[in-house]
Symmetry: C2
Subunit: 238 residues, 2 copies
């Protein structure tokens, strides 16, 4: 077996003769490479994975600030100290979840943005279908990501110089070609708005009783066909 993977044994308190007690910070023993090894080798990830899974659930539902590490521990059915043993801190654990979700959300768009194969029409079909499928599985990803970014924009949006990448992407070029008279961002907003917004506003309609989980899912399935048609008619309009 591999040596202690996350930390050294907790450092003991030692009392200074001034009567002040100082706490040594635990130091990580493992390098990233060793960490990777561990993940491959280890047969039983269940505790670590249980915590992660609980963290996903609780963080997604309540957001970073409203989540207490004790909530996560309870949800995972483990002792609170274990959470810090495996993940060092609430923030580290959160970052793991956040990065996972951001990746899930933005990769759908990124994949299309830089695809140079397909026609505009096909791309729109793919964006919508992929988002709807992904969001039906993870309906609260948009609110989660957006609200965490809002309360800490600096932290998660160090994606500074992506602007050119965006403007020069094949997809945006195609949009500009098709409708040079209209800022491509308008169409991006339209596609994303029609596709993602229902998942953001949906809970309200459900609470009103205007919608059930089932009828919502069905509606979104319909939208996989309808939204591309509507986008088409927008692109052709006038």
């Amino acid at each position: 077996m591999i040596k202690n993977l996350a930390y050294t044994k907790p450092a003991p308190i030692f009392a200074l003769d001034l009567g002040v007690s100082v706490r040594e910070k635990p130091k990580i023993r493992t390098s990233i490479i060793q960490m990777a090894k561990r993940i491959k080798v280890e047969t039983d990830l269940s505790t670590e994975e249980k915590i992660k899974e609980a963290a996903r659930k609780v963080f997604m539902q309540k957001g970073y600030s409203a989540t207490r590490t004790r909530d996560i521990a309870e949800e995972a059915g483990i002792n609170l100290a274990l959470l810090n043993y495996y993940f060092r801190s609430k923030e580290k654990l959160f970052e793991l979840v956040m990065i996972e979700k951001m990746q899930k959300f933005f990769s759908v768009m990124a994949f299309i943005l830089f695809d140079t194969e397909n026609s505009l029409t096909v791309k729109v079909e793919k964006i919508v279908a992929n988002y709807v499928d992904m969001l039906l599985e993870n309906p609260d990803i948009p609110i989660f990501i957006l609200s965490e970014i809002r309360s800490n924009p600096a932290k998660f949006l160090s994606i500074a110089p992506i602007a050119d990448l965006f403007h020069n992407s094949h997809f945006v070029v195609q949009l500009r070609e098709k409708r040079p008279d209209i800022n491509p961002l308008h169409f991006i907003f339209n596609i994303m708005g029609m596709t993602v917004f229902p998942f953001i506003g949906g809970p309200i309609f459900k609470a009103m009783g205007a919608l059930t989980d089932d009828s919502f899912a069905q509606l979104m399935e319909e939208r996989k066909k309808l939204v591309p048609l509507w986008v088409e008619s927008i692109l052709e309009s006038k």
Copy 2:
């Protein structure tokens, strides 16, 4: 002048002979009517209003959980105790702000929903223009409302039996008349998505550098004209 408006003087601690000390809860002395009177009479609302204004700012920016009452006090330039003196608790103060913002957001839609005068076309124009105008003034209302509702759905969505009101609204009836083949919710999602989503996703595009505050505002001004046209072409499509 009117008597102490918010609370009695704080009740003193009294020690039981068991060694346990109990704290009396402060009791509100003022009725709602007196409270209303006060608001009319009082010449200087500045402290109360300063706190409220600070609360609006901080709550909107960081959300309920990430906001510390000390943040609000500092922002308002007042002592922390004053906040509790005027508003009794963080939660009470928050509810005030939340209700204000929900009202602002939903009244735009409600106003259109039950308007029996105008044509579908005019209504769509009004929804879009009213939302864009309101949201340019208060860009973070949507994320604020949605994320607070997410973390506490029960509290803010006791709007239980609004479903019928919605389905029978003049606007929804008009939509069903125009396109009996398509669930009116699809069009609601489209209009709201195209109008509100940019304010939700905007911060990301700004962070990417694909958009400045000015160019965003300009884009949204354009959308006041464009979105109704696109909605029209969606309603006519196929």
